[in-house]
Point group: C2
Chain length 461, copies 2
Amino acid sequence: MIKRTISAILFSAFAFFSGFAQSDDSLMIKKIADEILLNGKASENLYTLCKSVGTRLSGSAGMYKAEAWGLKVLLEAGAEKAYLQQCMVPHWVRGKKEYAGYQTKKRSSDPEFDVLAIGNSVGTGEKGVLAQVIEVKNFAELNQRKEEVKGKIVFYNYPFNKTLLRGAYGDAVRYRSNGASMAAKYGALAVIVRSVTAAYDDNPHTGALRYNDSFPKIPALAISTKGAEKLSGFIKGIYKEENLFIRSNCEMLPDTIGHNVIGEIKGTEFPDEIITIGGHLDSWDQGEGASDDGTGLVQSIEILRTFKAIGYKPKRTIRIVLFANEENGLRGGTKYAEEAKLKNEKHIMAMESDGGAEYPRGFGCGMTKEQFAKVQGWTKFFEPFDANRFTFSEGGGGGADIGPLQTTFKTAQFGLSTTGQRYFDVHHSAIDVFEKVNTQELNLCAVVMASMVYLVDKYGL
Amino acid sequence: MIKRTISAILFSAFAFFSGFAQSDDSLMIKKIADEILLNGKASENLYTLCKSVGTRLSGSAGMYKAEAWGLKVLLEAGAEKAYLQQCMVPHWVRGKKEYAGYQTKKRSSDPEFDVLAIGNSVGTGEKGVLAQVIEVKNFAELNQRKEEVKGKIVFYNYPFNKTLLRGAYGDAVRYRSNGASMAAKYGALAVIVRSVTAAYDDNPHTGALRYNDSFPKIPALAISTKGAEKLSGFIKGIYKEENLFIRSNCEMLPDTIGHNVIGEIKGTEFPDEIITIGGHLDSWDQGEGASDDGTGLVQSIEILRTFKAIGYKPKRTIRIVLFANEENGLRGGTKYAEEAKLKNEKHIMAMESDGGAEYPRGFGCGMTKEQFAKVQGWTKFFEPFDANRFTFSEGGGGGADIGPLQTTFKTAQFGLSTTGQRYFDVHHSAIDVFEKVNTQELNLCAVVMASMVYLVDKYGL
């Protein structure tokens, strides 16, 4: 491209700010934006988290390193105090690398598959499971063919529906979350689940499952999308009658001690009114937990840093919370709301970012109609950033970690919403790394988050 | 992230299509979307272009390979005919790898810098240029300090203004385009220009310059953004009094033969009314020309393939044009409009994609007010894809290659507009490669382009 088209010119934030009545708020929001876009530290913080801490599953050594990182960056960003809030967290360990493959030795080489144990699942142990594979497209087919399931490995080959644009994850994740117990109900020995991702590659994507206590706990593996196609081909073809061998050594250990990491600036006018902003500190044990949810952490911390840098002193108390154990227990979010209730705190707003750092489009708003009307009145401030898409759900949630605040206090919820087409390519996999995050998009997310926090802090909700 | 937030659910295209009155048009657009999102070939075509053809600067061997690739994929996609339209193109060659560094030998090692000759520029030749560097922030500073420039290398260290969001390229590219002649006017021997990119890394970004014939043609180099900071530091520090040595072997050879590559489906009702859709076939000689403009090519071709696949027979003639020589001459776009005029063709609409394949947001619309009102009436069809942002410029352009059609026929212009924050990170550099393009976003762009073409084809403009 040699020159910008008309849309580029019309669509520039600069033009907006020039034409716009220069209210105090629009000037303050421009200050926030300039600070973050020109001097932002989110990318630098994400780099140290990804490269010096790395993965940080609950109970792992990485979790403790991440907590120390969190305290340090919160203080550096300008928190008046930073502290740990203890909570017990589950301690699931993957153990030795998983295996799935045919071992018939009838041919020069039998196929093997890229797999990862699904989080929270039991392992097969060293002895493994050797059984025929029954492939089903979905639960309906499983139910239809329930008589065939006993003694077999159920393979859920449900594709990520790319036509849903924003609903595909919720649609497909059922097989990872519930597939093991659904199959165990009919006597399956184990399950293999197609990775919940739009990407077509060799990376298996892990994530949590939940066992239904009414049925036996059976091992569960995620298989890469290419692996799923390969396995599907083999079991329809020359390996139709053969047994697949799978092995996983994961196990759930006793709960251990973890922490929410909290950084705070006390409000100047209404110190008892609390605004909570956060992401989750834990990550799966693949890649670097960059987009899930390193980005949510560094965006939240950036709000604190920016307010300090531009000299904005919040009227209300701002708390940045790096929540423990979102991925496989939600113990951090639960604990945070419990403690708040015990202390009789007043939580007026909570914001969460846990969908990566793609180009921001606005917020999912879980609040009252009256509160939403107020938020909609601020739409103009988000237009220059093209982040004016506010979706409303009365009393709905804005994210997993701030959900318990909603349940406990009816705290107004803001969930950052982005374009969201790339997140699930990397999510819970080996390629969830720093290099996949674009600095400008990361910063733009922080700009719109900080702007909304500024407005709620100034005007209440 | 363990579950989707409310915004995800409310924001799903599926919900839209379910709730929406199922008009023929919304059903057809859903068909288009499903075909592209589930069976799209754009990514596969981009892969072969990037990996088998590679770079394809005008006059290079790659250009001819790309033309052959274009004819093949257009026919595979279902063009009734595919043909070449000859035009003369400039033939600039880079020659041996460029060099910039201090060679004082006063220390154990002198610094060197990542540079690339700027396209169309003259080279220094083997003898190089050895001169002091004068750093200026912008043209204003150059003019102020014009007395100091003579016999020196001018270093434009103008940063990409990240706060402009969509105007930063146009703002900064002046130094690459015009900087050489502006400095030559005051007697500079050569210029070094900070790369026009938001990225902070070691990749220099090339691109075209235009010499002003009133002044001597002097060599011009692009320096990476990290390199620019490093050079700036050295010339303020220990290399203040030293001469920098630069060398480039690029040169402009005589014009040579190139071609627009055109694929066509004849209209069933109004075959004389032509809809032109395209991107440019040439690329700079760095990376693979994936986002600039491989994506524009494969998106355009995908429209043809999709219409065939779903059995839609256009009323009007659809022409996919892979334009020659956008980057350093615009000869292809110019030739296409000239030929159209000679043949007295009727061009009712032209669409261009030349800004990469990020998440689509809509179109820049260069047309009459009446035409734009009609386009706005179709907004609802673009809402499910979040691509309903139509910006208007009466008689304005939609892109470089279709600009001459506008000038010649007042043809209505559509320039694809995307979120556009990542494009300039890779643009004209070694990292403009296939791997930087997200398949789902690429396909979504094709969906919104095909949908608009469908509507204009059906209803006219």
